[in-house]
């Protein structure tokens, strides 16, 4: 309870103080990092900006060949734990039930539309589900995992290779599920998303999962995104509406 109070009462104030104390702010791991280096994609690259939605949201992630993900023994045990709990009606085992940020790739599979906003400065995903956003800068590779604090959405880098947008992410916490059925992951998770316009209204995508804690080998899932012309993102507030 005390932590919650600190969050609601003191955090805004603390942030202001941290702004006044750059040395402290740098240690906080928050916004006060040293000046970032901004890179830009080459001029004339494919623009992925637009309103998008997953063609088959939710559900269970399979490999590109349609098989089960290569869970190792620890992964199988953890997955079984999640599935048993859900089947017995214990939905709080699902982090999304508590309105926590969905993590990657689950966020992409949420049954809500999202925006991709591509600029020379960065690449932003804005998801309708619980007004969640991801800001990704243009770099060849993400930071070293040991250099970042674990977060729900990870630390990502975006680049464009020919007609394909590639996002590499590291630095995840282990508080999210990979899919809606409870596929687990640990903090060593790395994710590579690839987006290719197969026609002006369709993105053919893949997401590659590498996590030695729970999987015996890296594996890749496929997805399709469809453009949503005329759609306006609505306000979705999980804490207000989510009643499992």
């Amino acid at each position: 309870m005390m932590l919650r109070k600190m969050t609601t009462v003191c955090l805004p104030v603390l942030a202001a103080v941290l702004a006044a104390l750059p040395a402290l702010g740098a240690e906080s791991g928050g916004s006060n990092d040293s000046a970032p280096v901004f890179e830009q994609p080459p001029a004339g690259t494919t623009d992925f900006t637009g309103k998008w939605a997953m063609s088959k949201p939710g559900g269970h992630l399979l490999t590109a060949e349609g098989g089960e993900p290569p869970l190792n023994a620890a992964g199988k045990a953890e997955y079984a734990k999640h599935q048993t709990a859900v089947k017995s009606g214990d939905h709080k085992v699902d982090p999304a039930t508590s309105c926590l940020l969905h993590g990657i790739p689950r966020l992409l599979y949420a049954p809500y539309p999202f925006l991709i906003l591509q600029t020379t400065r960065n690449l932003t995903f804005v998801h309708e589900v619980n007004h969640t956003f991801r800001i990704i800068y243009w770099h060849d590779k993400p930071p070293a995992p040991e250099d970042v604090d674990p977060t729900y959405l990870g630390a990502a880098a975006a680049r464009i290779d020919g007609k394909t947008l590639i996002i590499d992410s590291v630095g995840f916490n282990d508080l999210t599920w990979l899919d809606y059925t409870g596929l687990p992951h640990g903090e060593k998770l790395t994710v590579q998303e690839r987006y290719t316009l197969s026609d002006p209204h369709t993105i053919a995508g893949t997401v590659r999962i590498t996590d030695p804690q729970y999987y015996s080998a890296p594996w890749t899932a496929r997805f399709t995104l469809k453009r949503q012309p005329g759609m306006t993102l609505k306000e979705s507030v999980c804490m207000d509406t989510h009643q499992m």
């Binding site: 309870m1 932590l3 919650r4 109070k5 600190m6 969050t7 609601t8 009462v9 003191c10 805004p12 104030v13 603390l14 942030a15 202001a16 103080v17 702004a19 006044a20 750059p22 791991g29 928050g30 916004s31 006060n32 990092d33 000046a35 970032p36 901004f38 900006t49 939905h91 709080k92 039930t97 508590s98 309105c99 926590l100 940020l101 925006l115 906003l117 600029t119 400065r121 960065n122 932003t124 804005v126 619980n130 007004h131 969640t132 956003f133 800001i135 800068y137 977060t151 729900y152 306006t232 993102l233 609505k234 306000e235 507030v237 999980c238 804490m239 207000d240 989510h242 009643q243 499992m244």
Partner: protein, 281 residues
Amino acid sequence: MRRPAWLIVACLALSIASLAQEGAPAPAQTGDPAARAAARDKRNAEDALTWNKNPAPKDPRDFSGVWWTRGYDRTFRPVSDTPMPPDASARLLPMTPLEAASRQHHLDMEKAGTPIADAPTQCFPHGIPRLMASPYPIEFVYAPGLITILHEVAHNVRFIHMDGKAVPADTARSFLGYSVGHWEGDTLVIVTDHFNDRTQIDEESLSHGLQLKVTERMTKFTNKYGGVEIRNLITIEDPEHFTKPWTAERLYPWRGDIQIAEYSCEENNRNAPVNGISVAK
């Protein structure tokens, strides 16, 4: 939600420290005013250098990038030429009797140690203009027909519709309302309505109803230290709560030295419903 006294004292101390950053009341009577002003000038010039490492866009209509208000002021007050403490400036508020009573109730409850929990304490979006006072960085992202403002605090997102279309007839009421923007010269004018009545105007005490309409006028300028800032003049109209429109101000300095961080309000929220039941008491 009762707050222990030590916490309020600690936060007050932190608030004072953060306000001191604003420059206005310098640390307790040390040095003469000229020396304090010189120190403030020096710090502001150093800040501008650091914050301009990645420069702000030159186009006066391009706000793309990160901005971060200095310090934190938990009250909204009408802009006035004379600086004055919050209690004095509260007399400038054109409150209706309804709002005057409501405000007094907020102040009384806080004084009693049982403050009224407003939307952000439950991880709901802050509301407008409350969100625009938040002491966290914000980022503007431009796309055709749309300006998106990403707020670090509790991952709030504002969409400013710039496509010239009217508000859709079926627009639902929401915490952040529906925003339509246009340019008047180099000033971005944002009109927001369709609010619900579940947020406050400011953190301290001011309320609003369903008739709230907020007009923001945002202009980019270069200050005397070479730093770039957006000035936001925020006009609040709500005939139930205020006898006439009034205008408050917030400034957002350019911050080329930082990026927006992840912020999970929900992580520690004991109000999160589990199986439809709120566990917080």
